[in-house]
Amino acid sequence: MYHLTFINTMKNFVKTVFAFAIAGVLFTSCAKAPEVEITNAKAAIEATKATEADRYVPAEFKALQDSLNVALLEVENQNAKFALFRSYKKAAATLNNVMTLSEQVKSNAATRKEEVKAEAQQSLAEVTTLVTEVKELLAKAPKGKEGREALEAIQGDVVLVESFLAEVSTLINNGDYLTANDKVKAAGEKANSLKAELEEAIAKKKGGRK
């Protein structure tokens, strides 16, 4: 009797071990590295870089790359484990997060780019108006022998400022907004000094006569 009970117990034990082994094999065959997610996340980062996110939102782009790296290392961490104990859930979640974040970073980069573009365009418009004012002052400035040479010199400077502004337009069209901003600010300073020079000359002209 005892002999039979022991045999039955051992049979059950062996069955259980086999069941676990089969379950383990099944489990292992399901725990595959998230290759698709990895490919998609890498592609998402490349697409984000293409929007110049690394230039316009560098900190966010860096965080995105960091997340991808963490996910890839987590995959390797799981690969290092015994097959029965591998789980790529955390890596997959991080990779999915990279995908979501990349959309956010792309959007933020586009917003920042638009802001810088708008700033450059606004500055360009302001300086263009300033140059128009300088031209109007040139027209009002005393004619004749009184300062004709000086007016010609200012006219020459206005032409140079305008050519500078043409370069700004080209830079804006090419998407190089930061350099465009530098250039337009420089042109603005020069245009302001020309305006002041003309206003002073006109004021002196008025004040010089009694």
């Binding site: 960091d66 390797e76 000086a150 020459g156 530098d182 420089a186």
Partner: protein, 366 residues
């Protein structure tokens, strides 16, 4: 049967124990080192090490990728056969390259920032110097164009510098430096020949001051370069006024209509006021004097000037204060200043007009 099962259980237990022990003591992948290394490289790139030390960053990235590949290869092996020494070596090399790149970037950036700042100051100094000494000179259009271009490029460089875009600054700043140096050189060369007459101007000035002292009378000296009209009483300077000249004031007057202010020793021949002048008040001088006439004849003979006449009616008059050189060759003062001068002078008062009382070296430090 019982014995067989017992052996199986023991064997299973032994296998599991051995497996667990081997697994426990097997080397673990250096994930934290890899993560840290990646951050070091990313930090370096964020600080523009990829622009200042591109080769080192490239090497760091290659070593890091190598470490990742080596890690994958090791993980593919049975756990008890894994050895991460190569991974650790590669990751350490990558980290060291990234740190080296960061250090090089920091040094290069600091050096570049310092040298650019120095260069910005040099160019700014040249621009200010040009504005102070040459901007109002009757220079040719090319020199003025170069100056304006230089200033625009300098301002652009300054803006780029302010946002730490140092690598963008260099080219524009070099161009600005080249243009402003060219303008300064052109102006300096133009003036150098003009200033050859400085000893003569100084002698005239001294003679005029001596005359004033010896005769206890007023004398007037006009320094064209300084745009100043100086009044001496008994050899001592008593008044100093801002003077405006003809637009082509560098060089003496050669002929009628050249818009140049003459240089020489003259005297007042007539005081004009009311309807006698259109410029509030005027002091007519005896241009052309004998020296002017001799020079005019000589230049006419050698064909260096047009046959337009020598010109006349050179005055010190009012209606000045326009801030530009606008006369046909006269010296213009503000109406307030001509009123003050009027009190000291009369017919016979010496009026000496010189190019400058200071040497070019004293003026611009070159």
């Amino acid at each position: 049967m019982k014995k067989t099962l017992l052996i199986l259980v023991v064997l299973l237990f032994f296998t599991v124990s051995t497996f667990a022990t081997l697994y426990y003591f097997s080397p673990k992948p250096p994930l934290s080192s890899l993560e840290q290394c990646h951050r070091t490289i990313a930090d370096a790139i964020e600080q523009e090490a990829d622009k200042y030390a591109p080769e080192l960053i490239k090497e760091a990235e290659i070593y890091y990728e190598g470490a990742r590949e080596a890690l994958t290869k090791e993980n593919e092996k049975a756990f008890f056969l894994r050895n991460y020494k190569t991974v650790i070596h590669l990751v350490e090399t990558a980290g060291s390259k990234a740190s080296e790149a960061t250090k090089k970037m920091a040094e290069d950036k600091a050096n570049l920032s310092r040298s650019l700042l120095e260069k910005l100051e040099i160019v700014n100094h040249k621009i200010e110097h040009f504005e102070e000494n040459y901007a109002n000179l009757p220079l040719n259009k090319a020199a003025r164009k170069d100056f304006t271009n230089a200033k625009l490029k300098y301002l652009e460089s300054k803006k780029a510098y302010e946002r730490n875009a140092f690598l963008l600054v260099s080219n524009n700043l070099d161009e600005a430096n080249r243009l402003i140096s060219k303008s300064v050189d052109a102006a300096h060369s133009h003036l150098s020949s003009y200033f050859e007459d400085l000893p003569k101007w100084k002698r005239w000035h001294q003679e005029t001051v001596d005359w004033s002292r010896q005769n206890s009378a007023a004398a007037v000296v006009v320094d064209k370069f300084a745009h100043t009209c100086i009044v001496y009483q008994s050899g001592k300077e008593t008044k100093r006024f801002v003077a405006e000249l003809g637009p082509n004031w560098i060089g003496t007057k050669q002929f009628r209509g050249d818009k140049a202010t003459p240089e020489g020793k003259y005297h007042i021949t007539k005081k004009k006021s009311g309807k006698q002048t259109i410029y509030y008040k005027a002091l007519l001088i005896n241009y052309p004097n004998d020296e002017d006439k001799a020079r005019y004849s000589k230049n006419l003979k050698n064909g260096s000037i047009p046959r337009k006449g020598i010109g006349n009616l050179i005055e010190i008059h009012g209606d000045g204060g326009k801030g530009i050189n606008w006369t046909d060759g006269c010296v213009a003062l503000t109406n307030n200043d001509i009123d003050k001068l009027w009190q000291f002078v009369g017919p016979g008062t010496p009026v000496t007009i010189v190019g400058s009382l200071r040497s070019l070296h004293e003026i611009n430090g070159r």
